[in-house]
């Protein structure tokens, strides 16, 4: 058993999932061009993450949430990481910027407590965003409870949370972690078995 004062916070997209979910949604609904443009602008730093997220939700929110949820429920997951989470359910949490209605079934498959962004639903579609998850606030919440926070992430929207975490692991399992993450991380790991081995050592 791991020390009970440690909390593991996992990003979802590209960290636990073995493919990025946004391109998958874009492909399924044939809106690749619009989504790719926003994604590229975000990565280049031309638009801030929150603005990018709102614009993406504006596009994706018009699509039936159930269909997105069904689509994402089939995404391939990292088996060793899911196993680690399930063996450490008391102190493992997923923190995802995704809307809860889009990743509901996926999160059920992992069987883990989570924090996500939220939206108001009308007729099966997202009418408006009600909460955009700030991952750093979850880190602060657990630190204020005296917990040592270990954050595992890869993208720009993880960077601020990782900057303030006690241990932050830039995880490059399916792609190179963003530079903003590498600049603030305490560690970097590039395969799932190594990540789980290291996490077990943090006991």
């Amino acid at each position: 058993m791991l020390e009970n004062n440690i909390v593991f916070l996992f990003d979802l997209d590209g960290t636990i999932t073995k493919e990025e979910t946004l391109p998958l949604i874009a492909k399924h609904f044939k809106i690749e061009e619009e989504i790719t443009q926003i994604t590229e602008d975000t990565i280049r730093g031309n638009i801030p993450f929150v603005e990018s997220f709102i614009r993406r939700v504006h596009i994706l929110g018009a699509l039936p949430a159930v269909e997105i949820d069904d689509l994402l429920s089939k995404v391939e997951l990292s088996k060793p990481i899911v196993e680690f989470i399930q063996n450490n359910q008391d102190n493992s949490f997923i923190v995802t910027g995704n809307l809860n209605v889009w990743v509901n079934q996926l999160l059920q498959r992992i069987d883990c407590k989570y924090y996500s962004s939220q939206g108001k639903m009308v007729d099966g579609k997202v009418e408006k965003l009600t909460n955009i998850l700030k991952k750093e606030e979850i880190v602060q919440k657990y630190q204020s409870l005296g917990k040592k926070v270990v954050f595992i992430g890869d993208g720009n929207n993880d960077a601020e949370a990782m900057r303030i975490s006690d241990i932050s692991i830039a995880f490059g399992n399916i792609h190179w972690p963003s530079n903003s993450v590498l600049q603030v991380s305490t560690h970097a790991i590039f395969c799932e078995e190594e990540l789980c081995r290291f996490l077990k050592q943090l006991s």
Binding site: L182, T186, H187, A188, I189, F190, C191, E194, Q201
Partner: protein, 214 residues
Amino acid sequence: MSISKTVVIGCAGIGSRLGLGQSKALINIHGKPLIHWQLELLTEVEDVRVVVGYQANEVIKTILEVRKNVTFVFNHNYFNTKTATSIYLASINANDHIFTLDGDVIIHPDDMKSCLEMDRPFIGVTDISSDEAVLVHLNDASEVTEFSRESGTYEWIGPALLNKEMFSYAKDKHLYEIIEPTLPLESKIVRSMDIDTMNDYYKALEKFKDWYEV
């Protein structure tokens, strides 16, 4: 290995005396980067941690060409810190014993093997060859009793098996200054040399022909 070990390779530094503007882990030794040669000697070790700082992305990518199961530890403050900081950062949540190795060291493969088989702390010493060496004094029992910049029987260029409890955060200290209070420690002769200057580099290329199959 008889006890659980973490191997820490320090690759955060700038390598300024070599004058190539390149991390010494990346220098070409008979067709391969130095770090690849080191990693070939560590295939049996599960927990390998590499401390990165200067040219971190290049060092990481070069290592991933030959080994994926590595934990990289960032020393973002590499310009203002010394070896003790890098090793301390890597020692967090490590196994009980840490084998330290500098990223600019070449080591005889047989001696690396015997170092990894050791189950008690030791300092790996070698014949004096560097201009600005960290020297060691040994007592009659061949234990290291003192580090010195002025005199000594052997040189120490980084290999050592140490108890992880001895590490603490020390921004301005070299690793030998952290080890010093725990002396005496067993010594072990390790055929090795470090590459600080171009002259060392040419010498290392020659040594390699004797020590490795190149």
